[in-house]
């Protein structure tokens, strides 16, 4: 019998109780939020459990919500059970002042660069990561560019000298 979202939710709730919150199914993909210190425990359980078998890490990324106090950064894991072909999204919220989240590198080799990328752009500090350095940006960079406090240039700005770009000066 193939695994359903209800069954996964039931198994997880039995095991972790109120550590896991915010169960929802946007577009059929089971999404849940774990307390910050439990991300690895939950993933380990999802990996080891003979029924759940979430043994493929599809993706790790982060999202910045500046207006959520003390949980500004969300780390988002996409896991995949290839045998039953079912996906799951796990979220962990961390404060921007101290964004420490446990690393998943012990569980999945692929987490290595994904976590480096997430660190590179959002500054998530993956505790226990073997080599947490920038991967796409230059090493000398001192900020985390995907955070919302770094907006892109306003396309309507008027103080720019277009002459430098061969488009004539004042319009």
């Amino acid at each position: 019998m193939s695994l359903t979202n209800e069954r996964i939710q039931q198994r997880l709730t039995e095991k972790f109780g109120d550590v896991l919150t915010g169960f929802e199914e946007p577009f059929g993909l089971l999404t849940l939020t774990a307390q910050k210190d439990y991300n690895l425990k939950v993933m380990q359980f999802l990996f080891d459990d003979e029924e759940l078998r979430f043994r493929f890490l599809t993706d790790i990324t982060a999202v910045h919500y500046p207006e959520r106090k003390n949980e500004e950064l969300a780390v988002v894991y996409h896991l995949h059970n290839l045998q039953d072909n079912i996906r799951l999204r796990l979220k962990v919220f961390a404060p921007v002042a101290k964004p420490d989240v446990f690393t998943a590198t012990k569980l999945y080799e692929s987490a290595n660069w994904m976590e480096r990328e997430t660190y590179d752009f959002f500054g998530i500090n993956f505790v226990g990561h073997p080599n947490l350095i920038r991967v796409l940006n230059v090493d000398e960079m001192t900020y985390f560019p995907m955070r919302k406090e770094f907006p892109l240039e306003d396309s309507m700005r008027i103080d720019k000298d277009d002459e430098m770009f061969g488009r004539g000066g004042n319009l």
């Binding site: 946007p26 577009f27 493929f56 996409h78 072909n85």
Partner: protein
């Protein structure tokens, strides 16, 4: 002034005094893209490798946070530029999933044709370049004629060749012309013989086999742990294909098989790609047959709020003018939501994780780029092998710098 040594990071426990450090890349003719590997070599044998990526990082995820949805399609072109249409379709399907747009069957089949042509073009490059890297230029030059034909088909449909920006939210920007269909027919008639001959050149070629068998091999278990997807994973014997696991764009209507390898080495990857090209040809044939029974004038869904109206109507009809203005200015109504959508890219599972807060641009858009994830395994794959094997291993992985660095 930075110390030059600062950029050369030797691995832990390096025995540099006894070995040489070789900088392979970032611009090396044999790496087909901007890849840097700092190799520690003992004679010609690789002791360890450290991969450096990010040389052509263009911050697409950040740029996407400022752009209306229809302007993000050209960004996706520049990820895997060997098969740009698949990226375009992946992005459009993600937006359509978010907006709940159902596309007509004909649109789905036209998209399947385009995606499979792109897959052939991508595999063609990868397989023939493996020949080049092992010293056989002939096959490469021979099959390029047919990649050119595929590019001409793109050109008939959307007007451009490499970075295609093909398709719009809800369908295609215009119907396929009779010339486009004629070219697809020509491709279907001529290409199988060419692919057969290309395979004859290399598959049982003793030199090619010696150069690729057992090179860069990975077990299924390690491949899964490293997040391999696409032909590289299938070469290791895991039959995971997004087209079958989570069908999109009506792939469930087609009859095709997933070729798998056994050893996960460069030779098996080559074989899997060639077998996939045969499957793609069959899928395109099936799609062409299915199109015959569908009305020939449908090429987009009926979603006026998201699909640009005919220019003629913009000048004469009020609604068309309003929708045209709203779409072009990026003010089309987007629903808030969170969606992950994956398509089977030419080199693996290409995923789009999109969070919309209802604004004109995505709140967050993340690309799951398959080759960024599996390139991590490269250091392990080449460890202990010869320098020349590292080159073959790299080309067999089908790494595309544009996708890797996003």
């Amino acid at each position: 002034m930075l110390d030059q040594k600062q950029h050369i990071k030797l691995p832990e426990g390096s025995i540099e005094k006894d070995t040489q450090t070789l900088n392979l890349g970032p611009t090396h003719p044999a790496t087909h893209g901007v890849f840097q590997n700092i190799l520690e070599i003992d004679g010609e044998r690789i002791v360890s490798a450290v991969s450096t990526v990010g040389y052509i990082h263009r911050a697409f995820e950040k740029i996407a946070e400022r752009r209306p949805y229809y302007q993000i399609t050209p960004l996706t072109d520049r990820l895997n530029y060997c098969s740009a249409p698949i990226n375009n379709m992946g992005w459009l399907l993600t937006v359509e999933k978010l907006l709940g747009i159902e596309t007509p069957k004909r649109v789905d089949y036209l998209r399947v044709i385009i995606m499979e042509l792109a897959r052939i073009a991508d595999h063609l490059i990868c397989s023939s370049v493996m020949g080049v890297d092992t010293g056989a230029l002939t096959g490469f030059v021979y099959v390029m004629t047919y990649r050119e034909l595929i590019y001409e088909i793109y050109e008939e449909i959307c007007g451009s060749r490499l970075t295609t920006n093909i398709g719009r939210i809800g369908g295609f920007e215009r119907n396929f012309t009779p010339a486009a269909f004629a070219k697809i027919e020509r491709f279907l008639n001529e290409y199988p013989a060419v692919l057969k001959e290309f395979e004859t050149l290399l598959t049982r070629n003793r030199i090619f086999m010696e150069r690729t068998q057992g090179v860069g091999a990975i077990s299924a278990e390690r491949a899964l742990s490293y997040g391999f997807t696409g032909p590289n994973l299938r070469a290791a014997g895991v039959d995971y294909d997004v087209r079958v696991a989570n069908p999109y764009s009506s792939y469930q209507d087609f009859d095709f098989s997933i070729p798998v390898g056994t050893t996960g080495d460069s030779y098996d990857r080559f074989q899997v790609r060639n077998a996939e090209m045969w499957e793609s040809i069959s899928i395109i044939r099936q799609a062409m047959d299915k199109l015959k029974s569908l009305p020939a004038d449908v090429y987009h869904a009926d979603v006026p709020a998201y699909y640009l109206p005919e220019k003629q109507d913009v000048y004469t009809k009020m609604e068309a003018l309003i929708y045209h203005f709203k779409i072009v200015m990026g003010e089309a109504d987007i629903l808030p939501g969170e969606v992950y959508n994956a398509v089977e890219g030419a080199n693996g599972e290409l995923g789009f994780y999109l969070i919309s807060d209802g604004g004109r641009s995505p709140y967050r858009l993340h690309f799951r780029r398959p080759c960024f994830i599996y390139y991590q395994a490269y250091a392990e794959l080449v460890q202990g092998s010869m320098l020349s094997d590292a080159i073959v291993c790299m080309s067999s992985l089908n790494l595309i710098a544009g996708e890797l660095d996003a």
